[in-house]
Amino acid sequence: MWLIMTALAAVIATAIWYVKSPEDKYKLGLLSLFFWGATLMWLVDHVMAYMTEGGQFLEINLDATLLGVAIIVLALFVWEIVLLISDPKGVLKKALKN
């Protein structure tokens, strides 16, 4: 389930990045690459596990869904930290000056 949720997040982040491009003020390119990297890695993991062990390709249950949510939250959290450090609107700089 977390594979599908991360892939969905990657598609949405990339679509928003494309709409806003060529400007990447809010580092949406970084967020979409984060999600795509994880999606590719889990896709390989799922395919190889399915080929060697068989069974279900996707785990669809509450635990897997909660993990998907936690993964998206972590990615958004890291992205926000990077955004706040780079501070493209200068909001933190202004706040610190005042």
Partner: protein
């Protein structure tokens, strides 16, 4: 078990290479590289973002499943000698496959942008002459 350690190892190497490239490009004076398309440090930054992002999110998944713990030896498979062999096998198969897949996708991204940049080059050359005035 610990498959994400292979892309993490690659990410460490490519990050060091990217930083070295940035220094080199600054010394040369980036202009030339930008004219011929994107600089190599910028291209490598895409790979680094994919590798680090994937590593961080996979690490969370491993913590969730109890395969990684915050105390030594950090990997639960390391506590049982019988599990070390399968862990290394997983790293050598799934981990390496993950790193190769991400690198191949990045290679395709670089190739596409390079071809598009080259296709746009003649237009850039023609435009000043066409502009006149």
């Amino acid at each position: 078990m610990a498959c994400f350690l292979v892309p993490m190892g690659e990410a460490i190497v490519t990050t060091v290479v990217q930083k070295a490239m940035e220094k080199k490009e600054r010394k040369i004076g980036g202009e030339g590289t930008i004219k011929a398309g994107l600089s190599w440090s910028r291209r490598l930054s895409w790979l680094n973002k994919m590798l680090w992002g994937g590593t961080a999110l996979l690490a969370l998944e491993h913590v969730w499943h109890g395969e990684v713990v915050p105390w030594p030896p950090f990997l639960t498979a390391m506590e049982n000698p019988a599990e070390i062999g399968p862990m290394l096998h997983e790293m050598a198969t799934i981990g390496v496959a993950m790193a190769i897949t991400v690198t191949v996708v990045w290679g395709i991204m670089v190739l596409v942008t390079e071809l598009r940049a080259r296709a746009a080059m003649p237009k850039v050359k023609e435009s000043p002459a066409g502009g006149g005035a």
